[in-house]
């Protein structure tokens, strides 16, 4: 019964979404205030209805209602209840419901929080979001209904959740990722609303900016969580595989990052307007493309969903309507968006333009790499694409991005005198070369590219510290009081940029200094990795709730003194009959120790064991987290909550 209520709520939500997608729009056209005013309550009620259906599906999982096909396929009565709930998004249908719920949540948030935005603008934004909701709700209801029942003959027990997904990282990874993906729909809705009303000015950019930043922050965390999960759950110690599904989330992140920076120019200088709108459309379209690639079965991937061309056709048509329609609207309106103001070659605008070009190049590189199997098919080409292709582009692109980052932060809007920029740039460069070179010597000297990367990291950090010092002391009130007068968005930027530096430092460290030993061990054997001695003590069977495990015990010592015990496992999931490696990790800020149990070898008691020493690997995810915190801080800046002031140039951005 509860499941049927949830099912009904989704249909009701679809009806309301249809109303939401045209009534407010018609209202702004016909000047009917009452229709315009419908937008906010509709968005809120829609959110409540979708929440109700999500709870209903959760209820079915919690109560092991295996007459629901989706529950039967993705859960089991032995599954711990926490994973039963996260199994809601463990498959295609339920993850689509989660996606829709988040869309509704963003819609309700726009309805609640956009008090400083004119009602006619909010009405248009919510109407566009309503259209997107119509698309996704009908996609779910017509092709992938999670509420469908298997009656009258339903299984006594479920097929269990894929063991790879039975993990705390996977409980939070999809929601974070979807928050980001779906959040870009707000930026997109603002762009389309701006195109419809012909209003794409600094005020418009100021309304759209915090939403974009928050969505970007969620996507950043989501991608980092996915990478973290792959690192410890897949059991071979890598943190990024250039898998189509990873690329699907990385593309909107790259173009979303470009959008953030382009929005800054539009807000502050009323420039790059057409470009900003185009980026907003592109970013959300890439989110949809990601959905298409993952759910249509055109690409093979480890974590793609079940293949179904009918679903693929639906998303493709939807993508064509959303992206094609908005791009046509853009083509009609863009000629009106000619820039009025100009800027000199040496100005912040130039550096941000460079940032955008580099990020878009990177997006294009990933897009080509991901779609290559399809293009190759169409042209009968035979080239395979893997890590080396991406690395060949990403290393230079990232280093160039970091090189222009510092002058971009130091330079003023509109124009800058070279003489004023020269001194700080030289200082940052000299400081970066010295400290970066020293940093690259630890724990041992590294290659040219590794050294260059560390130099860039230190150059970015020093450049930002310098800029902060300059701006904090500019008030002439001492550095403490001055630093408190700087805006949140400024600190957000500093944090995000230093987070990027930390990510690059982590990638450099782990790529150049990791030690991987794969050895055959019998109990009593000791292997030495990264200065630590790992003694294999024994392997014992252990019974988990829905799996049987063989659990190894390793004593870790340094210079004869005990550091810790580590317990890697080999698990056999009873229902899915799938063997999984449960890695033992000793995480640390400086380095991780990583022990994985391979297969038992032909000689009884002998095991293949993987022992890794991974310096700096945590910085990668920590850096991403700092970037996200920076984004959230910037989105909380006071000026977004003030009613739209008369245009005022700000000295500090």
């Amino acid at each position: 019964m509860i499941v049927e209520i949830g099912h009904f709520a989704v249909w009701l939500a679809l009806g309301l979404a249809v109303l939401q997608s045209f009534a407010p729009l018609l209202g702004t056209w016909k000047q009917q205030q009452s229709w315009i005013n419908l937008a906010r309550p509709l968005a809120k009620v829609q959110f409540l209805l979708v929440s109700l259906s999500l709870v209903a599906l959760g209820w079915a999982f919690y109560n092991n209602d295996f007459s629901v096909t989706y529950v039967a396929n993705h859960s089991n009565s032995d599954l711990p209840w926490g994973y039963r709930l996260s199994a809601i998004w463990g498959g295609h249908e339920g993850s689509l419901l989660l996606w829709i719920w988040m869309l509704a949540a963003w819609g309700a948030a726009v309805a609640l929080l956009s008090r400083t935005v004119p009602a006619s603008m909010v009405a248009k934004v919510l109407a566009v979001m309503g259209m997107i909701a119509v698309g996704f709700l009908s996609f779910m209801l017509f092709t992938s209904n999670p509420f469908a029942r298997m009656l009258p003959w339903f299984p006594i027990d479920g097929a269990d959740l894929n063991p790879l997904l039975q993990d705390p990282g996977l409980v939070v990874h999809p929601p974070m990722l979807y928050m980001g993906y779906v959040g870009f729909s707000v930026a997109f809705a603002f762009a389309v609303a701006g195109l419809i009303s012909g209003r794409l000015d600094p005020a418009w950019a100021r309304w759209a900016r915090p939403w974009t930043t928050v969505a970007w922050a969620f996507l950043t965390v989501g991608i980092a969580l996915g990478s973290w999960w792959a690192y410890y759950e897949l059991g071979w110690g890598g943190w990024w595989f250039w898998d189509p599904v990873e690329n699907a989330s990385f593309m909107p992140w790259l173009s979303g990052t470009a959008l953030l920076h382009s929005l800054a120019v539009t807000e502050k200088r009323n420039l790059f307007r057409a470009w900003t709108v185009l980026l907003a459309i592109l970013t959300f379209s890439l989110s949809l493309l990601g959905t298409f690639l993952v759910r249509s079965g055109v690409l093979t991937s480890v974590h793609a969903f079940a293949n179904d061309p009918a679903r693929g056709t639906f998303i493709l048509i939807f993508l064509a309507v959303v992206a094609g329609g908005s791009l046509l609207l853009f083509a009609m309106r863009a000629p009106l968006l000619q820039n009025k103001a100009g800027f000199k070659l040496l100005s912040r605008e130039t550096f941000l333009l460079g940032n955008n070009l580099l990020l878009l190049t990177a997006t294009f590189v990933v897009l080509m790499g991901t779609l290559f199997p399809l293009i190759g098919d169409a042209m009968d080409l035979r080239i395979s694409i893997s890590g080396p292709y991406f690395n060949a582009f990403f290393v230079p692109l990232t280093l160039m991005l970091m090189a222009i980052l510092v002058p971009g932060v130091l330079a003023n809007w509109k124009r800058h005198r070279w003489a004023a920029l020269k001194a700080p740039l030289i200082w940052a460069t000299v400081g970066g070369v010295i400290t970066g070179f020293l940093a690259s010597l630890w724990p041992e000297p590294t290659s040219f590219v590794g050294t260059l990367a560390m130099i860039m990291v230190m150059y970015v950090v020093i450049g930002h510290l310098y800029d902060w010092y300059k701006k904090a002391t500019a008030f002439r009130q001492g550095i403490w009081r001055g630093s408190r007068r700087l805006q949140r968005s400024y600190y957000g930027m500093i944090l995000a940029h230093c987070g990027l530096a930390l990510v690059v430092a982590g990638i450099t460290m782990v790529t150049h200094h990791e030690i991987e030993r794969d050895v055959r061990m019998v109990p009593g054997d000791t292997v030495s990795v990264g200065g630590f001695d790992f003694t294999f003590e024994d392997v014992k069977p252990r019974k988990g709730p829905n799996y049987d495990a063989m659990r190894g015990t390793f004593l870790v010592e340094k210079n004869g003194r005990k550091v810790t015990y580590m317990y890697p496992e080999k698990r056999n999931y009873r229902v899915a009959q799938q063997v999984m490696t449960q890695v033992a990790l000793r995480p640390g800020l400086i380095f991780d120790l990583y022990v994985a149990l391979g297969e038992e070898l032909d000689m009884p008691g002998a095991w293949a064991v993987r022992v890794y020493y991974k310096p700096g690997v945590r910085w990668l995810w920590l850096g991403a987290l700092i970037m996200a915190i920076g984004g959230l801080l910037a989105a909380m800046d006071k000026r977004y909550r003030k009613p739209m002031p008369i245009e005022k140039q700000e000295q500090v951005a």
């Binding site: 898998d243 093979t300 098919d377 395979s384 297969e599 070898l601």
Partner: protein, 187 residues
């Protein structure tokens, strides 16, 4: 600026959409390989576990065999590996092509997961794979005793693919080798 310039994004997008549409229902499993019903291309490459030994296309003659392109860098290879272990234990000859890999990592992969291959051809440069038309690992081919390729499968090989694509082409005496699934199929 002329108005037509602003139409470029739309045109580009519909080009992409056409490509995606053409790819829908694209069988990521059977591929229209130019080599179906043609002999395995000529090669002369060393064995992974013993670099003194060199193989040519003649190793495919005189027996039914599978040719599996793999690499320790390939995530899906880890997924399908247990099924190959099962096939090997049923007496099916599997010739591995270790594609663009590093010797140490490939050996570690086999040590960790077991070795289902009767022979392992090392193709570091990827020349043989290029001749085969491989565009990514894993890919698996069925080769008859004349050394002629009958089936090509790109992506993970599992019990279902085996039953549908490979088994029907095998001669009768091997029909008994219905290898059960590694994972229970969905109800």
């Amino acid at each position: 600026m002329r108005a037509s310039i602003w139409l470029i994004p739309v045109v580009l997008f519909f080009g992409l959409a056409a490509l995606l549409y053409a790819s829908l229902g694209r069988d990521t499993e059977t591929l229209p390989s130019a080599l179906i019903n043609k002999p395995v291309p000529a090669f002369e490459l060393p064995e992974l576990l013993d670099h003194q030994t060199t193989y040519t296309q003649d190793i495919f003659k005189g027996r039914w065999s599978l040719l599996n392109v793999w690499g320790s860098w390939c995530p899906t290879c880890y997924v399908e590996h247990p099924y190959f272990m099962q096939l090997a234990s049923q007496g099916i000859d599997i010739v591995g092509v270790n594609y663009k890999d590093n010797k140490a990592k490939a050996e570690k992969y086999l040590m960790d997961l077991g070795n289902p291959y009767s022979e392992i051809i090392v193709d570091n440069a990827g020349d043989f794979a290029l001749d085969l038309g491989v565009y990514g690992a894993p890919e698996t081919y069925l080769v008859n005793p004349d050394g002629v390729i009958l089936v090509r499968h790109a992506g993970e090989l599992d019990a279902q693919v085996w039953a549908e694509k490979f088994l029907p082409l095998l001669p009768n005496e091997m029909d008994a080798t219905v290898v059960p699934a590694a994972a229970a199929p969905m109800p």
